[in-house]
């Protein structure tokens, strides 16, 4: 069944080609996009099931590892695949519901569909890649597509924000590329499984340099403090579905890369303390940023940054419990952060803005919207019984298990961050949903189509499912963590 492995990349790319050729026929484009992403989801789910029996490895072009590129669908990768393709599908439906056709300056669909599909292909490629340089290519694919999406419509704010995003990303790409060049220089290979052994043989100082370069490159993409400030400046300006999928997925690809490389290539926790300090400052600075905001989208961008700190906390612990919690939290956060930004899009259409000083009374005027906001908001704040709580609990348990002073500090930091997240979101609820606005919203509200609401609701429910299915899911992330720490299952699968 290994022939399934390349499909999550190949299908979206073929879809992109088809939508480009069909660019004058929006309906056909839509049909292609939806069916391609649905198929991707199905294939991903199948891969998840198959990967339970051990990583599926494909040597692309029939060139055996380490000569050519391998795609590795292990449980971590397939988990990420399933969640990300589900999210991308929902966001696609949402954006289709949002309508907009050619002629609508804000949402040029003929650009949107192919680019969106390419973005998806980049994300899936990054998850599946078992080759360091191919990981870079995967990043470039998703970045290139994201550059297009973030500047969609080309308004002044989007250009400004897009510039920040593009230039920072370009710098990170340069650093990544240089890092890969250095790794190849030092080891003579790009195959990650082979790097396991060759990197182990390097002197400590060299390893540290290489590790630092990769961490820096991924840290920018994952938005770790102090490499994170670009994110809240750029994400919120894009169209709602774009912001949503960026917030949900793109930073997580960075996190995924960190998890993968830190466990596989650079185990042993040499930089654990550094990661923990970064995690703490990311959490705290990020959430303080959220508290200081008065616009829902920006606020959510800051919570995004802040919660990356949680993920990093788990990685920094480098224990099975920590990694397991980090992976679980990553999956949860993809869904919940996307959902909230989609809701923010609905709010924008209903209230004419996402600025807190212009909103109000939505709980009365839009009760469904209120529910759609409240549930994921509580989930994000880590209120039980939602998955955000379970992930946070796992991290706190892992931190307590580690027991160092720094770990305790992070446990405290997690708690404070959680509280401030709740504070920030409750304030949104107070102001946007409860308060009667001082002035009537100037612009007549845009109707949100049923498809938009439904796809958001599906994501909300998906977030709830994490709670219901937390038992088996957590067991799964636990085996993922064990495999990550053991390294050998991966290596044996790639280089038998």
């Amino acid at each position: 069944m290994t022939w399934l492995v390349p499909l999550p990349v190949v299908m979206p790319l073929l879809g992109a080609a088809a939508t480009l050729l069909m660019f004058r026929r929006p309906r056909v484009q839509r049909a292609i996009s939806v069916s391609v992403l649905t198929a991707t989801l199905v294939v991903s789910a199948a891969l998840l099931v198959l990967a339970a029996g051990g990583p599926l490895v494909v040597a692309v072009g029939g060139w055996p590892a380490p000569l050519g590129i391998v795609l590795v669908a292990d449980q971590l990768a397939t988990l990420m695949l399933v969640v990300s393709s589900a999210v991308t599908l929902c966001v696609l439906l949402y954006s289709i519901g949002q309508g907009g056709a050619d002629g609508d300056e804000e949402h040029p669909l003929s650009v949107y569909h192919p680019t969106y599909l390419i973005l998806t292909a980049g994300v899936t490629n990054a998850f599946l890649s078992g080759d360091l340089f191919n990981l870079y290519v995967g990043f470039e694919i998703l970045l290139a597509a994201s550059y297009v999406l973030i500047t969609l419509g080309g308004t002044e704010t989007r250009i400004r924000a897009g510039t920040t995003y593009v230039v920072v990303s370009l710098l990170s790409s340069v650093i990544f590329l240089a890092g890969i060049g250095l790794i190849y220089a030092a080891t003579g290979t790009l195959n990650m499984a082979q790097l396991v052994e060759r990197l182990d043989a390097l002197p400590d100082g060299v390893r540290l340099v290489l590790q630092g370069m990769l961490l820096l490159a991924f840290g920018i993409k994952a938005a770790i403090f102090p490499l994170s400030a670009w994110l809240p400046d750029s994400y919120p300006t894009a169209p709602a579905p774009v912001t949503a999928v960026f917030a949900g997925l793109l930073t997580k690809v960075g996190v995924y890369a960190i998890i993968r490389t830190e466990t596989l290539l650079f185990p042993g926790g040499r930089v654990a303390d550094l990661l923990m300090v970064a995690a703490l400052s990311t959490m705290v600075v990020g959430i303080l940023g959220a508290v200081a905001q008065s616009d829902i989208k920006r606020l959510l961008s800051f919570t995004l940054v802040s919660h990356i700190g949680y993920l990093l906390f788990g990685v920094g612990l480098a224990s099975r419990a920590g990694l397991s919690a980090a992976v679980f939290y990553t999956l949860h956060h993809i869904v919940v952060q996307t959902t909230l930004l989609l809701v923010a899009g609905l709010v924008e259409r209903r209230g004419g803005s996402t600025a807190l000083d212009r909103l109000g009374g939505l709980a009365r005027t839009a009760p469904v919207l209120a529910v759609l906001f409240l549930l994921p908001a509580l989930n994000l704040a880590g209120i039980p019984p939602f998955s955000g709580f379970l992930g946070k609990l796992g991290l706190i348990q892992a931190g307590a298990g580690e027991g160092s002073a720094l770990a305790w500090l992070l446990v405290a930091g997690s708690a404070v961050t959680s509280l401030l997240t709740l504070y920030a979101l409750a304030r949104v609820w107070n102001l946007a949903f409860w308060r009667t606005p001082a002035t009537d919203p100037a612009a007549a509200p845009l109707r949100s189509s049923r498809l938009m609401v439904t796809s958001t609701a599906v994501l909300v429910v998906a977030g709830m499912l994490f709670t219901v299915a937390a038992g088996p899911l957590y067991a799964l992330t636990d085996t993922v963590a064990a495999d990550l720490l053991a390294r050998s299952p991966y290596v044996r699968a790639v280089l038998p």
């Binding site: 002629g103 290519v137 060049g181 003579g188 060299v206 490499l227 400046d233 039980p384 379970l390 409860w434």
Partner: protein, 936 residues
């Protein structure tokens, strides 16, 4: 279990309310009533089901004495309050459905909290009550005080909850599980236990509104009265008390520092709360607020007593829990009745309600007596038991007793004030509108509660027997509970308390406006947080791209720099150059790069950067990389054209350079980055030990890949997956360029050749398709003729490079670039119409077709049963022509070729033709930013 019923009921509630109006509450009341029914028939039980084993979280429930008691209270009071709601709310009240749902959900959460056997599960319910109470307190959210109070309650109790969670995790991780029994069996010791205990206590105290967390409770009185009655009498605040009661046996048994800390905090803070709360209650004019402070005071008492940790106090404490739930709920509901009837709760404005509503008085007085600790209510029995238990508890106990007595005096006093304020006085003659008195149906619930209080008082011994298993968890033995203990010190104390209380009541002036709910500390913390947030964000979130980039680069320097120094190899053989001929291009490159930095004219900088690119290409060639050199040359040329296409519209000079010190910082960072990168480069190269994987390629590329040019075989075969991704990148950016330049999305169709040039003048020989459309001054016959002659030759070269790339330098990229440059030449010679004529297709379609071919080749291999992107080598013998060597990966390269052509075409259509059109429009008078300077 019944929890499920609550959940279902909560979900259905809005529907029910819409359908049946307030009467739906009666239906909803059956759910907690069923709980009571269950509790009456079952005194204990347990059930468990794993949930998240990885976290030690299971759906474990069990009922013991303490939780049974609370189940009864939660269910009973819940049912009664719901019944009350059925009459309290007018039909059509806004947000009633939501209210009903949240309320029912809250009752369920509270039930879950007390029956959870798993500490984490308990926390789940704990936080659920917090959130639901937030929604209940905020209610419709229209009023600012409601919103603020709700937020305050949420934040304070969640903060406590989080502390508690950490405490629970500490205990649970040590014990290896989170069941009450597991934790108790493997209790931690040492300082960590103390930390855990303190954290758990923080949670409990914040929930129970014990000092210093008391302030949120009175503020939360903004909620509708039924909410206050339930949350602040029977439910939410009892969660904290429940936790104290639950942990007390464990902690006290553990002894040591933890127990001491526990006792001092719980008892000390409890007493303080009791006194302060009572004192505050005494000065309130709002009846509801008075009761709220009373609640604070009572909770202090409960915490102190339950936290004290002897068998006697334990029994007395749980008895007081029962008492408090009954009388406080009843009294709140009474206030609700008064409020609803009189339209005010201010005791200065209420007059003569005792006479108007004798039934109300009949309900209120027994409940109040229980509160004041007068016989025959259960409150009396409880208080007596407290006195007695403390008397038996040594010096410490007596000290505590003194506090409790003082608090009780206050209790009596504010009870008196309550009764007096609510019912005393003569009705005003003109007050006819409300004379109808209280609605009888509203009185059912408080009456039942008050009656239950009295009944429990009479049945105190039975109550005591039922509750005593809880007290058995402590050392020592408890006195039994009784309404009449006979004369003794407790009775004396009771008498003194009543007397003192009444005296105090007389001393307090009636009309003085009471102190407002406190919470200045909370305010200060929250505004402080907000200020901190603004300061930190203002400092880190500068909004400046250069700042962010500099930060990233500084991190690079700070991480890679020291690591580089630390890992510097002791001795390495360093060559000065690869070959001496390297030196020339390297020197050119360095000079051009260095001078590009300070250049003030855009084009100068561009040209200098271009020179570094060309020099780079030469370095590639000398290094043994002809493919790279060829590609770099072509890319550099394409880049130069693209840049010129844009720069023709931008100002010729860069704007003002930054000040000297900023420049120095930048140069400093630049030099540091350069040094670090060169350094780490050296480090990495000298670390190489193993042979590169590519060593195997030379012998494999011909048999497996069908080509001699290893680089090309890598690109289209060995690592074709990379190339596939790379062309996807090109497709994306090409699409993006078009979307940025074509101002309106609809004009994207102009990526296709929508414009047809006018016919050329008759008398002129035609060299290009649209050469005549160029303005006369820019035309050049020479250029047109040469373009005409060379265009096809260039295309020929591109096809040659495409086909020959597998064996010599070339390939899809270079071929595509050359073909793209052929189109560029046409555009340069003949303008945008010429471009349209040269490539009468849509750029997007070319890109799509290329992607389809490239990816399709890969997928095709999959379909044919091979590996994705697997290639095949075919050697055909064609008659006459001889051997034809075909490699399927060439088809992949054709896809690459098409995409590169598509990219260049797209750029020409966008940055070339469409920008031309913008310029023409600007000339024609469409508003566009004025050009200050020209290109050259």
């Amino acid at each position: 279990m019944l929890l499920g019923a609550h959940l279902v009921a909560a979900v259905l509630a809005p529907v029910l309310v819409r359908w049946a109006g307030p009467r739906a509450f009666y239906l909803l009341a059956t759910v907690p009533a069923a709980v009571v029914g269950w509790a009456v028939t079952h005194r204990s039980g347990q059930w468990s089901q794993p949930w998240v084993p990885g976290l030690g979280l299971s759906l474990a429930f069990r009922v013991d004495t303490l939780s049974w008691l609370l189940v009864l209270l939660v269910g009973g009071v819940g049912a009664l309050v719901l019944v009350y709601c059925g009459s309290y709310f007018a039909p059509g009240t806004e947000g009633l459905g939501r209210f009903a749902a949240v309320f029912t959900g809250f009752a369920g959460a509270m039930l879950g909290l007390v029956v959870s056997d798993d500490l984490l599960l308990m926390y789940v319910f704990w936080e659920s009550t917090t959130v639901l109470s937030y929604l209940l307190i905020g209610h419709t959210g229209v009023d600012r005080p409601n919103r603020r109070a709700a937020l305050q309650a949420l934040i304070v109790t969640t903060a406590g909850g989080l502390a508690m969670l950490v405490g629970l995790v500490i205990l649970g991780e040590h014990a290896g599980g989170y069941r009450w029994s597991q934790v108790a069996a493997a209790l931690l010791d040492g300082p960590l236990l103390t930390v855990a205990v303190v954290l758990i206590l923080v949670g409990a105290l914040s929930k129970s509104a014990v000092f210093p967390f008391s302030f949120w409770l009175p503020a939360a009185m903004a909620a509708p009265t039924p909410v206050s009655a339930y949350l602040h009498a029977a439910a939410m605040v009892k969660a904290g008390v429940f936790l104290v009661a639950g942990f007390a046996p464990m902690v006290v048994a553990a002894g040591g520092a933890a127990a001491t800390v526990w006792r001092v905090s719980a008892v000390g803070l409890g007493l303080v709360t009791m006194l302060v709360g009572g004192w505050m209650a005494l000065f309130q004019n709002d009846l509801k607020l008075l009761l709220a402070y009373g609640t604070v005071s009572q909770l202090g008492l409960l915490t102190a007593v339950l936290g004290f940790g002897t068998a006697g106090t334990a029994l007395a404490g749980v008895a007081m829990v029962v008492a408090h739930a009954l009388f406080k709920a009843a009294l709140f509901l009474v206030v609700g009745v008064i409020d609803k009837a009189a339209g005010t709760r201010d005791l200065r404005r209420l007059d003569g309600w005792g006479r108007r509503a004798p039934l109300l008085v009949a309900v209120a007085v027994p409940a109040a007596m229980s509160m004041a600790g007068l016989p025959p209510a259960i409150g009396f029995a409880g208080k007596e038991a407290v006195f007695a238990a403390l008397l038996d508890a040594g010096v410490v106990g007596r000290l505590v007793l003194a506090g409790v007595v003082a608090g009780s005096v206050l209790t009596v006093a504010y009870t008196a004030r309550f009764l007096w304020g609510a019912f005393a006085g003569r009705p005003a003659a003109d007050d006819a509108t409300v004379a109808a008195g209280a609605d009888g149906s509203l009185l059912v619930a408080p009456a039942v509660l008050a009656a239950a209080g009295v009944a429990a008082g009479f049945g105190a011994q039975g109550v005591g027997r039922v509750l005593s298993p809880y007290a058995d968890g402590f050392r020592g033995s408890a006195d039994h509970l009784a309404l009449w203990h006979g004369p003794g010190v407790p009775l004396v104390l009771s008498v003194l308390v009543v007397a003192g209380g009444l005296l105090l009541f007389r001393l307090v002036p009636a009309g003085r406006s009471g102190p407002r709910p406190g919470g200045r500390g909370y305010e200060r913390v929250m505004t402080g947080t907000d200020r901190l947030a603004v300061e930190v964000t203002g400092a880190t979130q500068r909004g400046s791209l250069p700042f962010y980039l500099a930060l990233i680069l500084l991190v690079l320097i700070a991480t890679a720099g020291p690591a580089m120094v630390a890992g510097w190899p002791g001795s390495t053989a360093v060559r000065l150059w690869e070959t001496p001929s390297h030196l020339l291009p390297v020197a050119v490159l360095i000079v051009a790069a260095v001078f590009a930095v300070p250049a003030r004219r855009r084009l100068t900088a561009v040209i200098l950067v271009g020179v570094t690119g060309y020099a780079n290409a030469v370095v590639f060639l000398l290094h043994g990389a002809p493919d790279l050199a060829l590609t770099q040359f072509l890319v550099e040329t394409v880049t130069l054209v693209m840049v010129v296409l844009v720069l023709r519209r931008l100002p010729g000079h860069f704007s003002q350079r930054p000040g000297a010190w900023r420049r120095r910082i930048r140069v400093g960072i630049g030099v540091a980055v350069g040094t670090v990168m060169a350094g780490v480069g050296h480090l990495a190269v000298s670390a190489r030990q193993a042979a590169p994987v590519s060593q195997a390629y030379p012998e494999l590329v011909v048999p497996w890949g069908g080509g001699h040019n290893i680089v090309n075989v890598i690109l289209v075969d060995i690592r074709a997956w990379d190339t596939m991704g790379e062309v996807a990148v090109l497709v994306a950016v090409a699409t993006g360029v078009a979307s940025l330049i074509f101002r309106r999305a609809g004009r994207l169709h102009r990526r296709g050749p929508v414009e047809t040039p006018s016919d050329p003048p008759r008398d002129e020989p035609v060299w290009l398709m649209a050469g005549h459309t160029v303005e006369a001054g820019r035309r050049s016959t020479m250029v047109e003729v040469v373009t005409r002659l060379l265009f096809h030759v260039i295309l020929l070269l591109s096809v040659y490079l495409l086909l020959t790339g597998h064996d010599t330098p070339g390939g899809g990229f270079t071929g595509g670039l050359v073909a793209g440059l052929a189109l560029t030449v046409r555009y340069l010679a003949g303008g945008r119409y010429e471009l349209a004529a040269a490539a009468p297709v849509d750029a997007g379609a070319v890109l799509g077709a290329g992607l389809l071919v490239a990816v399709g080749t890969g997928a095709g291999a999959l379909v044919l049963g091979g590996q994705v992107l697997q290639s095949a080598v075919l050697d055909l013998h064609v008659p006459l022509l001889g051997e034809v060597h075909v490699v399927t990966s060439t088809l992949f390269d054709v896809g690459v070729y098409l995409i590169v052509v598509g990219l260049v075409l797209d750029v020409l259509r966008s940055l070339g033709a469409e920008v031309d059109r913008h310029a023409a429009a600007a000339v024609a008078g469409e508003p566009a930013p004025a050009r200050k300077e020209e290109l050259v």
